[in-house]
Symmetry: C2
Subunit: 601 residues, 2 copies
Amino acid sequence: MFSLLETPRNLVKAALGKVKADLIIKKTNVVNVVTTEILGNWDIVIYDGYIVRMGRINDLDKYVGNRTIIINGEKYYCIPGFIESHVHIESSMLNVREFGKLAAIHGVTSIIADPHEMGNVLGIDGIKFFIEESRYSPVRFYFEVPSCVPAVDPSLGLDSGGKIIDAGQVAMLMQDPGIIGLGEVMDFISVLNAKTEVFVKIASAKLLGKVIDGHAPMLSGEKLDAYLVAGISSDHESTRAEEALEKLRKGMYIFMREGSAWKDLEALAVLITRYSIDTRRIAIAADDISVEDLVEKGYLDYIVNKAISLGIDPIKAIQMVTINPAEHLRLDDRIGVIAPGRYADIILSPSIERISVKSTIINGKIVYKDGEWLYKEPGIYNYPEKVRKTLNIKRIPEPYELLLEAPIKHGSVVVNVIEAIPGSALTRWVKEELKVDKGYIKCDLDRDIIYIAVLDRHHGSGNIGRGFVKGLRLKKGAIAQTIAHDTHNLIVAGTNTNDMIKAVEAVVRAGGGIALAIDNEVRALIELPIAGLVSDKDYMTVYDQLKYMEEVIKDYGVNFNNIHMTLGLIALPVIPELRITDKGLVDVVNGRIIEPIVKII
Amino acid sequence: MFSLLETPRNLVKAALGKVKADLIIKKTNVVNVVTTEILGNWDIVIYDGYIVRMGRINDLDKYVGNRTIIINGEKYYCIPGFIESHVHIESSMLNVREFGKLAAIHGVTSIIADPHEMGNVLGIDGIKFFIEESRYSPVRFYFEVPSCVPAVDPSLGLDSGGKIIDAGQVAMLMQDPGIIGLGEVMDFISVLNAKTEVFVKIASAKLLGKVIDGHAPMLSGEKLDAYLVAGISSDHESTRAEEALEKLRKGMYIFMREGSAWKDLEALAVLITRYSIDTRRIAIAADDISVEDLVEKGYLDYIVNKAISLGIDPIKAIQMVTINPAEHLRLDDRIGVIAPGRYADIILSPSIERISVKSTIINGKIVYKDGEWLYKEPGIYNYPEKVRKTLNIKRIPEPYELLLEAPIKHGSVVVNVIEAIPGSALTRWVKEELKVDKGYIKCDLDRDIIYIAVLDRHHGSGNIGRGFVKGLRLKKGAIAQTIAHDTHNLIVAGTNTNDMIKAVEAVVRAGGGIALAIDNEVRALIELPIAGLVSDKDYMTVYDQLKYMEEVIKDYGVNFNNIHMTLGLIALPVIPELRITDKGLVDVVNGRIIEPIVKII
């Protein structure tokens, strides 16, 4: 139990050797991120989760008791545990426990998480449940209140949407000790228009001295300045060095983003390698990272290594995931530095030119060592039942109900079609001629135009939005999923409506997830019962399920990695050009629902 | 009026040019302390005290209204207003208004003040009055609660002392918005012994997220680590580079001290010029600075120039009085950086190689320009009457009452004598033979041994401590003053008791101050009616009074600059070796009162 009085007094005693240490790392190489030195042959003494003593200690014996664990650190560098500056855990489809585990294995000991998706599906409860679960993890999770739930004003009628987190709820939640600040303020339009709602959200964080993180893609000049005077202090959306440099010059913290979907590190690394600037306000964030990448490549260890390979000095790269974000978060008295009085969050690596996490220590406990997970969780968090019951679909539609009707029995029509762009969040709005058969518009596999539908899964309204999507490269079957940003309705795309319904049924039965149906059979299923977003399985199971699904898709000749990620963005009515929601096709630029049929031929 | 909601909304409008600017600095050279660049030909737009827009602005005209002041910045560098990291205002003998004025003239726009002396004389009221007065100054004063009032536990009986600020009062005062944290924790013995009292003080700051500044001269190894785990984050007492480097490596902020009495900058500058370390945790502080130095040399402008002349890169030196302390204080969202959303605290200098403050802007107002003070104070703070009545001396003693009696009528005795060391806070404990005449021990001017006495001025007890001091070089007359660290009793040293009483009388009549009496006449007087520490006059008057007193002393052949500063430390019973209080001679090392007479000859 931490006590403001007793804990530091006990630490003083431990520093003086009056009580014995829990853990000692002997004769190691400390990566000092304050001075940017490597301190060779140093000892680190740990007590009650804290570093209490460090240096070349002559009388080290006095700290050693019967139960003191001693690590010979000679061959290792001791690096402060990494800090993830901004991530949406949900993108990994892992729950907090499993995400934390994979993170720690890859050297990440503190995570700033913005549970934006949980918020959209479950409102503030979703965030509270994540906070609850995080208490079972050794990793330090610091949550941010998502600032833009929902992404689109429901009164516009573009989307039935999930939950709302209004300014009052933000202000209430802000007081939770598990909350470190306000998550990326995406709605810069409201900021620039000085709308009250967003300023109340910002003020609620400011008032409590909490952080306000930004999201300012392409903002520059007066718009950027206006965004900044609102009190927003960071950005992770820069894609070019010049963009990031302007933001740095204007006092922002810049998180160079390198996740599964967005990779900006290479473009931004020149900030450090070409310009000779102070790097104290540069950090690194993944933003979104898949379980595949986490398992196959790693996490911040991999990203820091990439930064080093791009020419950034190793200690400077390490500063970007330690002291720099710690200072941004005003947590540098606790994390991000190996020093007396800080949490004993340390990773051991045989090299700093190429980091390879041999061991991870969090709060003075060795949680991971030599490929083995050693931490004994205090239990498994049981999500309340409501978390597993987020699919409010009263009746599975008949296959024909997913089809668009035409005002003619036979012939052709020109329809508005969404064209997916692999590896991009953007879509193209194209017009395509399609055949009509028995009054229904038919897909055209030869031209890679298939059916798509979005079913309201929140309100039991029976709403179905119908349309066509081009470019998903699906040759057979259908895929359905409850990951559909940001409201996460049930989206389904397919080559035929029978498989589409089969896939929908499987997802509904699972309480959420991703299902692949081919020839009237469910061929792969990833169950995501937690809010329809996240698995309750261990990370290797989720990884295997995902790999299996991809193999099945490949067997059918589809060469489209992460089809579920592309599909998951097609319902997001805030990124141009054309989208689909349960209300129908959305012209994003003009913010309106449009008719699918352009003309009858 | 600042509003968490309305202020930022108005700033957004101002950034977009929807309301007109108050002040624009055109085509200037911005010293960017985030990136360490000079940004040439940049414009800065200021509204309502804040920077709202910066860059090379093409459409600058849209910010210009009828009442917009425009400064042509072409020939100047715009530097963020300097931050003084740690100072005791009282050492200047100036009140807060006058200190702030001199500070601003020399580029200092934010001051972290530890009103330790006011606290000793007036308790928490003294601190509150300083906070009150600071509200009339354009300079941002951030006060710290002095952590060690009194310096010595009164129960030891070494000193009758002034006021006490106990842990409960510290905790209460900590909640005042004028308070930024806990002042230098000097009592490292209590920290190392894990005493409750000091940990309550630390916890009260920690709990509110406020800063806890340190004072750790020569602390190293396990003692330093024990001091740090208590939660203390800075130090300004390092005198050698190696000492400072150890503290930096252990995560502390280091303030390189360069004041009137202590000059550590040269020794510490090698940290930056010789070692190639990150300097983000290095700041600069004066600690104590005299009105003489302020008027004749300057303030942080002078000290930064000295740092530059010692080989520190100008922008790095500027970082040490801007962004670095701002980050330490967690105020970098407001001060220390020229960027949108920050206070418009800017100084203009024609050079950064050698800073010369041409103009100072605070909160968007030009307070100083071309040698002229332009700020109109909203009024003059009237200290409550009790502040002017801190001398509780019921009866002026007769001259003979200042003499030490001997148990013999005539002959010689060996006495314990305090030897002052010019330019050092230390004293030496020497034993000297002195003559006895009519039962009283006599001084010996030939050997520079004169009378010294300390009169209780707080409790009206009539206590007088008597003794001899060597090395003050006074040839005639006597000097009395109510500046006598830390309890600030009335201390008087002289060549004869008539002049001593004359000087005491003058000080008592003035309600505190420094008086010089020669040949039964008061020849110079600096009235310090505010707590007996601080003048209510303008800074030039105080400067002139001090210079005049020094001239008079020099006329009498005394070559001893700042004799009052040396005298002011002789009563401080926490620095070795021998001291005098109203209770008598104090053996500091053993913490006890000793007899003045060693033996009779």
